[in-house]
Amino acid sequence: MIGSILAWFTDPAHWSGEDGVPHRLFQHLWYTGATLLVAALVAIPLGLWIGHTGRARWLVSAANAVRAVPTLGLLLAASLWLGPHLQGDLAYVVPSIGVLAILAVPPLLAGTYAGIEAVDPAARDAAKGVGMSGRQVLWQVEVPNALPLVMSGVRSATLQVVATATIAAYPGLGGLGRFIIDGQAYGEYRTAAAGALLVAALAVALEGLLALVQRRVVSPGLRGAVGGSRNDDDADPAEMDPAAEPVDVRAHA
């Protein structure tokens, strides 16, 4: 079985054309990038505003409640609803991309909000005390301090979109999920397994890449809070654990 999957990967026919690995990978990355950008443009400013002003917190809980809705159901309902009104490829692409963008919002919103919320009030007061304006406090104190949690939100959202885009191959979207869905449909397990390995590798690679980005953009002064206690004293674990708070930014599909 492993041998036949290896043979699939070494067959040059699977590396060119519309149904080749490079084109499918490109599609998958394109869907992921485009939907994340749209979702980030909505969710990050909203999260900053909610975190900074403390208003409309219910939006965060509402977004989190979406977690219980099965992504497959959302994808199929959107395709069935919008599909007949659209022409050609758009009938498959538009509903799926819309759902992908919607699903990326909750982790981004929760991460941004929780990040701003978790900023040490003393740091905020000190910033006000030295005469910073509301805008300066937000951009020079709150945002840099919130970056670790914002980045967790970005990582969750990315994985959510990569995973959901795979499932969206069922109602007709392109991307690496095509190999899995078509392989299952034609009873070619090795095609499905090859697609699954590619999707898993893509998800792990993106996670690693984003972890590197996070290491670069987060201020070194904040890093101690992730690795453990700084002075070997008993650092409060609740302080560094997003899971212990009502807002959990991890998402999955």
Binding site: L80, T166, P171, A243, A244
Partner: protein, 214 residues
């Protein structure tokens, strides 16, 4: 509604399989996460590697993991065991870190007091530390339960029968009643499981409400 009225028996059967495919892995994953979380807390140097490894497992998209499982387990492609094992992997991945963080949230002086009273080893873990970590662990269990219920519906694409079948069938035959029933029944199941965990946590942590009752 008409659709539901004439098919409610099927919905109940599918909901029970859904509960099995999401619930068994929740229990298995929780049981496996306890020793892992304990190791990560007992030897702080192992904490980052436990968190990173389980985090990477959680990264793998569900449809991909379901499809890869037969390669690892040597099972048939349509065997529901693939789904049970894959969901257990996700549950362990989520809960190992939660258990470690929960155990770390137990204050040092309480551990020392327990040791002084003669609690040690396993007995201290199950008698003192785990119960005190219950609120943190319960929060993680709720996330795992809700996301398990939601993810399991994807298993219809690899032939494991549960509420996701209603989504696929409703879509293919354009029966809106069936598709919407599938979505709502999945959400309802998630909420029920969530409520059971909240209620269970209240039962095992009576001291949290001891002062509030008066």
């Amino acid at each position: 509604m008409d659709w539901l009225a004439s098919n409610w028996r099927t919905v109940i059967d599918l909901a029970l399989s859904h509960l099995y495919l999401a619930g068994v892995p929740l229990v298995v994953g929780f049981v496996l996460a306890i020793p892992l979380g304990w190791v990560a807390k007992r030897w702080p140097r192992s904490y980052p590697s436990v968190v990173t490894t389980t985090g990477l497992l959680y990264t793998i998209p569900s449809l991909a993991l379901f499809v890869v499982m037969p390669l690892i387990l040597g099972t048939q492609i349509l065997d529901p065991l693939n789904v049970v094992v894959a969901m257990s992997v996700y549950t362990v991945a989520l809960l190992a870190r939660t258990v470690a963080d929960g155990l770390r949230s137990v204050p040092d002086h309480i551990e020392q007091a327990a040791t002084a009273m003669g609690y040690k080893g396993i007995r201290r873990l199950f008698g003192v530390e785990l119960p005190l970590a219950a609120p943190v662990i319960a929060a993680g269990l709720r996330v795992a339960a809700v996301s398990n219920v939601s993810i399991v519906s994807v298993a219809s694409l690899v032939g494991a029968s549960q509420l996701g079948d209603l989504l696929i069938d409703g879509y293919n035959r354009v029966i809106w009643g069936e598709l919407l029933t599938g979505i709502l029944a999945t959400v309802a199941l998630a909420l029920v499981l969530d409520a059971v965990i909240v209620f269970g946590t209240r039962l095992v942590t009576p001291w949290l409400r001891a002062g509030a009752g008066a």
